[in-house]
Amino acid sequence: MKKTVIKYFIDFTDKQEKWLNEMAARGFRLVRCGKLMYKFEQSALAEYQYHVEFVGEKSHTKHTDYKRFLEDLGYRIICKNINLNWSIGKVRFRPWGDGAGKFATSPGAYSKELLIVEKRNDGKPFDLHTDTQDLAVYFKVVRNAYFCVGVMGIVFAALFTTSILTTFDFAWGVLPKWCGGVLFALVGIIGVFFGTKYALIAKQYSELGKTNE
């Protein structure tokens, strides 16, 4: 039996991973996914395990290298977007990126901010990061991405609610400008909220990393 689900995750790593594992437990294996769509096929119950990894800070070269490394280990990889932009052939600036990862091109690393990693269930927990220092580094990257989006949201909300953006029409003038303010304020709040969540996780591992591995 095939199954298609339309879904979007704001908590793109934790929640998404949990959901995919729940689907797998019920016997649905992820075949492929689109921007908002997940296609599943029937499999044995709990035959697969999933891990969702944020790689939005990586340049295209590093992204490809990492993906191949994981595939060499026998995992199946599905790339997943975070953004909901349908554009093709664009360059995006990602301030949280690392080196060349600051610029994302499509086709390239853009719209592939996440890796969904699948392995055959062997009864052991499935984690890609296992030592405290590495966990701290990883969660700091996730934290930075959320904070960055959050701050940009707040800045844009401020621009919309003040008169600075007088020449710019929100949604081509179809919607009143305060809608833009509300939308970006929402993005800002979400960004800061999850940024804080992952900041706390990163801090916990940093602290632990001072004495333990």
Partner: protein, 109 residues
Amino acid sequence: MRDNIKGGALTETTFLILLATCNPIHGYGIMQFIETETKGRVALGAGTLYGAINTLQKKGWIEPIGNSQNDVKKDYIITQLGKQVAADEQRRLVEISHLAEKVLGGISA
């Protein structure tokens, strides 16, 4: 990865990878070696392993064998420098083990 240069202490991950690469070995082999040899106490995640391999290559402690980038599976081997670092760590661990024995006594369990 943080390796304490002043004290010369390696992280456990680093030391285990150095030991695993004493024979040519690919990424999956390293994970298996570590899990088997530590009897499952240390299970290295793929992301952590990836970061560690890159760091150790940059430091020149391990190197890939074989030709270009397009190899299906890359094998890694410890370098001369890596062997030296591992030997230093072994010496340090023995020393600290002796100290612990002196202070705490022998291990009962």
